[in-house]
Symmetry: C2
Subunit: 159 residues, 2 copies
């Protein structure tokens, strides 16, 4: 059983970036009517370029059964929720080319994330409908998806 | 007086891309639990790279006074609303290096946009709080902002 934890930049840093408007903005623009939190994602695209795609994913609920994780060896991947709602973010360390010790985070409304290149993560798992996300990831040739199916699935639930 | 119109891909095409989950997805992923609308923005960054920033903008209301428009000569700029709410999108043609004949669109909840490089546009104008947006634009050196202030402001209101 994996229990969920709040999504914080500190806990998430080894896996990627938390994208939100917390703390002091980097600058004020538009006659001070807009805060800019500048360049917050470690984007990294090998042999390709950034693209914006939209995902519409079916909502899941807790407890959630984690039977597979995936990674993208050629690029980072950002999930920006468009629904002002929390979602479930699952990541794992890499050990012998397998995901090891998965961690599960639940975001606050208004938080997005960016997975670093080649980071094991769960598929997109909104916790409410509509599961609308903008996704900033690599557009390019070659196979950028690796999946790992667990022999024994994990169960993820509230703490 | 400029009256607002609905944001549609056709009407907006000369200025940029409408980013939403409408129509047939380009592919189904994650065991068919997620629709992917693939690579929908004409990103274009000169002498720089894509970055993800977050904007927190004060909400405006209609009627809205348009006294300035701006453009970014070195890159496209995408506004992805994170609040599932409509926002106001103002664009204009270029005539003698000035914005000409501004148009005003109101988006549907769940629609983002991408301005093509060097397109005259209004500043980010959410119509409700919180005015949270992910912004995908150019990170790089040089002056990427040109502003034009109107002698006589325009008033923008509902049709």
């Amino acid at each position: 059983m994996i229990t969920t934890q709040p999504l914080t930049p500190e806990a998430f840093a080894p896996f990627g970036d938390v994208l939100d408007c917390v703390g002091t903005p980097d600058k004020l623009i538009n006659q001070d009517l807009c805060e800019r939190y500048h360049d917050r994602a470690r984007l990294d695209f090998e042999d390709g370029r950034a693209g914006i795609s939209l995902f519409n994913a079916q909502a899941r609920s807790l407890p959630y059964t984690l039977d597979m994780m995936e990674r993208h060896p050629l690029g980072s991947q950002a999930f920006i929720p468009m629904n002002l709602a929390p979602f479930l973010v699952i990541v794992a360390q890499n050990l012998d080319n397998r995901p090891s010790n998965p961690l599960a985070f639940v975001s606050r409304a208004g938080q997005g994330i960016n997975f670093l290149k080649n980071t094991w993560h769960g598929v997109l798992t909104p916790l409410s409908e509509p599961g609308l996300f903008a996704v900033i990831d690599r557009i390019g040739p070659g196979d950028n998806l690796e999946e790992y199916w667990f022999d024994t699935p994990y169960l993820i639930d509230h703490a």
